[in-house]
Subunit: 342 residues, 2 copies
Amino acid sequence: MGKPTVHDIAEEAGVSLATVDRVLNERPGVRSRTVVRVQDAIKKLGYVRDVHAANLARRRQYRFAFVLPSGQSQFLISLREAVKEAGAGLRLDRAELRTVDVTVNDSSLMANTLQRLVDDHVDGVAIMATETPVVRDMIARMKASGIAVVTLVSDQPNADRDHFVGIDNIAAGRTAGTLMGRFLSGRTGQILVIVSSTHARGQVERRLGFDAVLSEAFPNLTALPSLEGYDDGERTYAVVNRALDAHDDVVGIYGAGAGTRGMTRAIAERGLSDHLVIIGHDLTTHAEDGLRNGLIDVVINQNVGHLVRSATRILRAQCDGRTIIESQERIRIEIVLRENLP
Amino acid sequence: MGKPTVHDIAEEAGVSLATVDRVLNERPGVRSRTVVRVQDAIKKLGYVRDVHAANLARRRQYRFAFVLPSGQSQFLISLREAVKEAGAGLRLDRAELRTVDVTVNDSSLMANTLQRLVDDHVDGVAIMATETPVVRDMIARMKASGIAVVTLVSDQPNADRDHFVGIDNIAAGRTAGTLMGRFLSGRTGQILVIVSSTHARGQVERRLGFDAVLSEAFPNLTALPSLEGYDDGERTYAVVNRALDAHDDVVGIYGAGAGTRGMTRAIAERGLSDHLVIIGHDLTTHAEDGLRNGLIDVVINQNVGHLVRSATRILRAQCDGRTIIESQERIRIEIVLRENLP
DNA sequence: ACATAGCTGATTGACGTACCTCAAAATTCC
DNA sequence: GGAATTTTGAGGTACGTCAATCAGCTATGT
């Protein structure tokens, strides 16, 4: 009545426990005819390996590393926090999470860091980094060493990663564009678009989606050329101010990158919050404050907790040779207003 | 270096394994002085019980029942589906989920059904039901029998449940109201509000939040008295048609209950989708279609998968005497547009 | 001093799996 | 047919915990 165990398999297949074990763990020394017999028994009885008992027996410890850019943006801070939190929760599940910070734009440091993870025999790596040949090659090397790899937040579609964990940035941009258009319904004017960098793939994709929607559905709105804020509050503050000086019929701002604080500061100082529709990304504490006091209208968010948990689930499944439920691992594009703040 | 085990505790406290075990499982027969010694050792070494090993040893099986209304609304169907899906995933985790359907408004059937669960010694119950004395009393009885109980989707605040799993319906109504007001920016007119029943707590709360926002921020919009659709497509279709005949300056519809299909049908037939802002609840397949083809502008959603997983996590924690991470169990109010459909 | 009850220790066998060894059986090769 | 090789069986130990038994210990009250 209960779940079948290895013993039941052995009996059903008419072989010994040792043989079942060899088949299950793909150890050599079993005739192919016998392998088939055992596999038939497994299928017939609907046996599923008790992962917990197995991990207990082999004292399995999953060691996963989260490789993140070393920046101090609120998003990165909360992402690191989420890794720490998830790690605490997962200690009971024999998984150990660690974060590794890598200065952006330092290829050799990146290569060394990843190589160290290979040498250290970690079981899986979740990596958030800009797309470079070095990263691509190192991902290939990690995969070759049997390490599970997922890309995080920003994908590396040309690399040999097992999966991408993050939102569809084009869809996110489209979502922002739709909300911008609907909130401004009918008004005509220009939209400031602020990105971290015009070289970051995710940022480009958001812009792409945003523009597509505007031109499809809201031709009365014109998105101005992207301003680069480099994830820096001061810098963002400066470029927003300059742009607002230069254009006098701005009706909305789309902050596709980090640096929300600088953006809101500029708007607050100019007393523009009631006249402009402001849409930002990532529900950091600043963004939350901005929503609460009406400086920001909408925040498009990817839940960092979900990101981390999804990444670990996928890495783990990869380590165990299991397949994942694709639909459960899709990261939702959250729309956050003041009213539905968590 | 590895995690401390009971053996380490025994050694540290200078007692035997058996005593540690008695303390851990709060079994009698240990002097209070010794209990303290053991607990100190546990704290000192930072011991955390290996839940999986423990469950393995005691052959623990968590048996949870989801008590749901027997209706055939898309939401209920997908909820049942989610229970089934989660149950399949949890079989490996020694949990067994089952759904029990109960015809609404049949008190004695409800009482019998819940009593049967008590007699059957289930470990936990997640119940979605309207607030009645019978349900309240049965929850008390279940709790008294040591069964963990959470309310699902619709809360029973006066009952002795351990937790409520669902969205904050007032906030959901506020969210809908805000989007309605912003999408209609500046326009003046009336809003149809459709609820399942004016007796269901969740529906009343949504209406409450919706009205509050309209009167606070959008005085140009007037919400008409609630129409009751009783979660039925035909009925909803009829009341919407009648209301649209009776009022000629309707600018938006808020469907707070089920029956989205009837609502969209009425709108489609009258060719009103471009003139009205339509906001519905629950991302069923019909709602999804409505979003895709532009009949619906926004869907406010509570993710059924999250509901079920959160409920089982909480029930399980309750069974193990663990505390939950409150913030992780809060069900998000999802805003879904065509652009951010999952 | 003695019975009694309350504590505690030592030990053992599960639970379902991994991993190892040694020997026996079966198969292949010459 | 015999040797060499491959395949299989039997059995054990371990993982961290639970649960149970039985024996021995310590206080307490009489």
